[in-house]
């Protein structure tokens, strides 16, 4: 009892300022994150076309529709393929690049850093439009160059599989630089004495990478790993929207794009909301798994 009153007292006297100062950001969070989230849950139980003034309550029908639709599984499958490809392109490859540029190369480091980071400045919409032209399978420059060697470019934008790969490439063009710079900074921060000692002992480069660099930069590594997954969901949206609109026959759609498609193209807000909630649940589970199994092995400097 006395502890409680003490707590209340402390809250009154000491903490109110802190809470007060937190209030603006809390307000923003509430408006732009919590409220939309609650509203999405609410909408997922209704049939509504976004224009009509009445919403019809349908219970779990939206969820049932989604779970019984084979299209949904295709789209979730695509979502994971995107993530897998982007993990390679945007997490593994930049890791290796950062290592090579920091520890192996002797010259032109500044140039590489600048050149690789450059695309991060350019809007992904602009990038997507550029790539639509560059990779136009009939008349784009890449198709012309391949033509010199007698190769024909697949019409990727209309082929299952290819379309996901190319859209991932376009996305990674944008995201690569940022991930690379972050990893580079982390690897750069590893004590040089350790590396020099290993080199004196004739430890091969691949072992330096796997046994020294990787564990010592793992805190940043896990950060890049997670934002790659998040970006795999979100950034891919732009090239999908600009280039394929989810086609051909949903072969390039992912969960986020499809939620958009349902809500703002077909105006089925209930379906869209239910799909968003399901997507969130899946990723919540993935996050819990990550916390339970991966987080333990991470080395935090401080």
């Amino acid at each position: 009892m006395s502890a409680l009153t003490a707590g209340v007292k402390r809250f009154n006297k000491e903490n109110w300022k802190a809470y007060f100062l937190l209030f603006p950001s809390l307000l923003i969070f509430a408006f732009f994150m919590f409220w939309p989230f609650i509203y999405t849950i609410y909408l997922s139980f209704f049939d509504w076309n976004m224009i009509s003034p009445t919403k019809e309550f349908v219970g779990f029908q939206n969820y049932i529709d989604i779970l019984t639709d084979p299209k949904s599984y295709k789209i979730f499958g695509n979502t994971f393929i995107y993530i897998a490809i982007l993990l390679v392109l945007n997490c593994v490859v930049p890791y290796v690049f950062a290592f090579v540029i920091d520890m192996v190369l002797k010259r032109f480091k500044g140039f590489y850093k600048g050149a690789l980071f450059m695309p991060a400045f350019i809007s992904l919409v602009v990038g997507s439009i550029l790539f639509t032209w560059i990779l136009n399978p009939v008349s784009g420059p890449v198709a012309i160059i391949l033509g010199w060697f007698g190769l024909e470019m697949p019409i990727w934008s209309k082929m299952d599989g290819w379309v996901i790969f190319v859209l991932s490439l376009i996305t990674s063009w944008k995201v690569f630089g940022y991930n690379f710079i972050v990893l580079y900074a982390s690897i750069n921060g590893i004590s040089r004495e350790l590396i020099e000692a290993a080199r004196l002992d004739q430890v091969p480069l691949w072992r330096i990478f796997f046994q020294i660099v990787l564990p010592m930069s793992s805190a940043t590594g896990i950060y890049v790993f997670i934002i790659t997954i998040v970006q795999g969901l979100q950034y891919v949206f732009t090239p999908i929207k600009v280039i394929t609109q989810g086609g051909p026959n949903y072969a390039s759609s992912n969960a986020i794009y499809h939620a958009y498609h349902e809500a703002f193209v077909l105006y089925r807000t209930g379906h869209s909301a239910a799909l968003s909630i399901l997507t969130m649940v899946i990723f919540l589970v993935l996050l819990l798994i990550e916390i339970k199994f991966v987080e333990r092995g991470i080395y935090y400097e401080n």
Binding site: I51, P53, P137, V138, S157, K158, V265, L266
Partner: protein, 433 residues
């Protein structure tokens, strides 16, 4: 510290109050201004690059010459859907603009959910001198675009586009073909095959955006009907035959590329595809970027049949509530449909003029058409214009989407035309029930 807190609270309050104040101001001054003119709102969807400048120009011109009315143009982002949403919000607040643009696909939704006045009713009531304005200046099939299912005139067609066939004359000549292009779809197929064989380039690209506009033109021109009595009927013999021709060109002859819309247009512009079937609204893009002898010809027909071309674009509807506003609305609309205004609208947007007598008139498009010959193809085929089918009811958009899905499947070769169309037709009819 305390001072800071007070300051913060004060600023927050001030912001809230001033926001409210602004809102109130906006609601009160819509009926008349200082000089006693009736003030009306005109809602449009034309962004700066899509004719927005022309809208402003026309409104300015109108306001300068009108003694009774002042028009305020309001741009609505996100095209016709955005405008519908804003109209919904406005209606919920008990207000309405006077004149709005309604996209064809929203025609039924608009008529079922909003208050409007038929233009003819307003004319009859207040402007007997304009009694025959509509019949005199519009083709009956064009007027029919803006009619509801029961034949009531809901609005007046304003922005019109139709599909045309752009041709690369240089490539046609190179392949030894008639440089005036094909007249029928059967010829399109032959031409394409010859072009593929002679030049190695693709023959034709038929547009594949996220709608079924061109598909409807192809199928209905062959005598199929997208909808009969509220049911999907496109999988008829004629429909399947028409679709088969497209699929054959893509899959069998490989003379038509299966590309998204923008890549298709690009490939025509840089000379890798000899013919392009797409909207007249792409004219200025094609015209200014093509490096070869380019022309636009009328939509091909099917052998022995006359083409039926869905209209893209929008109509103008009167949503004004009180008498003064309605009168002012018609005054402005009449101005917009004058030869000069329509000519400006066509030049600024690339749409086909909705009314007669504009193409030949000196104060109309005579000079413009002399310079932009490609526009003629679209103007000449106005007698073949039919409404753009929108599937009825809430499931309409889903039905539309199913047709897009099957297009990908058919042209991707994963399903035959007959199976695909029949299955889709069944699915759609199930949805529409």
């Amino acid at each position: 510290m305390k001072k800071l807190v007070i300051l913060f609270t004060f600023v927050t309050l001030l912001l809230a109050v001033s926001a409210c104040g602004k809102k109130e101001e906006a609601t009160t001054n819509t009926t008349s201004n200082e000089s006693g003119k009736t003030v009306i709102e005109y809602w449009h969807v034309n962004a700066e690059t899509q004719g927005g400048k022309t809208v402003d120009e026309l409104v300015k011109e109108f306001n300068a010459q009108s003694e009774t009315t002042e028009v305020i143009a309001k741009f609505n982002p996100d095209m016709y859907k955005g405008l519908m949403q804003n109209l919904q919000a406005e209606a919920a607040a008990g207000k309405a603009p006077a004149i709005i643009q309604v996209g064809w696909s929203f025609l039924n939704y608009f008529a079922n959910n909003f208050e409007y006045s038929s233009p003819q009713a307003i004319i009859d009531q207040y402007f007997p001198e304009d009694k025959t304005f509509l019949e005199d200046y519009f083709l009956s099939n064009v007027l029919a675009l803006a009619q509801g299912p029961d034949g009531e005139q809901i609005g007046i067609p304003y922005s019109l586009s139709t599909p045309v066939l752009y041709i690369n004359r240089d490539l046609l000549k190179e392949a030894g073909l008639d440089e005036n292009g094909p007249k029928t779809w059967e010829e399109v197929k032959e031409f394409s095959k010859t072009i593929k064989e002679q030049t190695g380039k693709f023959g034709v690209y038929i547009q594949q955006p996220a709608d079924n506009w061109a598909t409807q033109a192809l199928l209905e021109s062959n005598g199929a009907k997208m909808i009969t009595d509220g049911k999907a009927t496109f999988a008829s013999e004629e429909g399947i035959k028409a679709y088969q021709l497209w699929a054959d060109m893509v899959l069998e002859d490989q003379s038509a590329p299966n590309l998204p819309w923008d890549q298709g247009i690009q490939s025509f512009i840089d000379g890798n595809v000899a013919m392009l079937y797409t909207t007249i609204a792409q004219r200025s893009n094609v015209q200014s970027n093509s490096q070869f002898d380019v022309a636009a010809i009328k939509s091909p027909a099917w052998e022995g049949k006359s083409p039926k071309l869905p209209a893209g674009g929008a109509m103008l509807a009167i949503t004004a509530k009180d008498e003064e506003q309605k009168k002012a609305g018609w005054e402005f609309m009449k101005f917009l449909y004058s030869i000069e205004s329509v000519a400006k609208w066509t030049e600024g947007t690339g749409y086909v003029p909705p009314r007669k007598d504009v193409a030949e008139a000196e104060n109309g498009l005579k000079d413009f058409l002399a310079e932009n010959e490609m526009m003629n193809a679209a103007i000449e085929q106005m007698d073949g214009v039919v409404p753009w089918t929108s599937f009825p009811g809430d499931a309409g958009l889903q039905a539309e989407q199913l047709l897009l899905d099957v297009r990908d499947q058919i042209l991707g070769g994963s399903i035959s035309v007959e199976d695909g169309l029949k299955a889709t037709e069944q699915q759609i009819n199930k949805l529409l029930q």
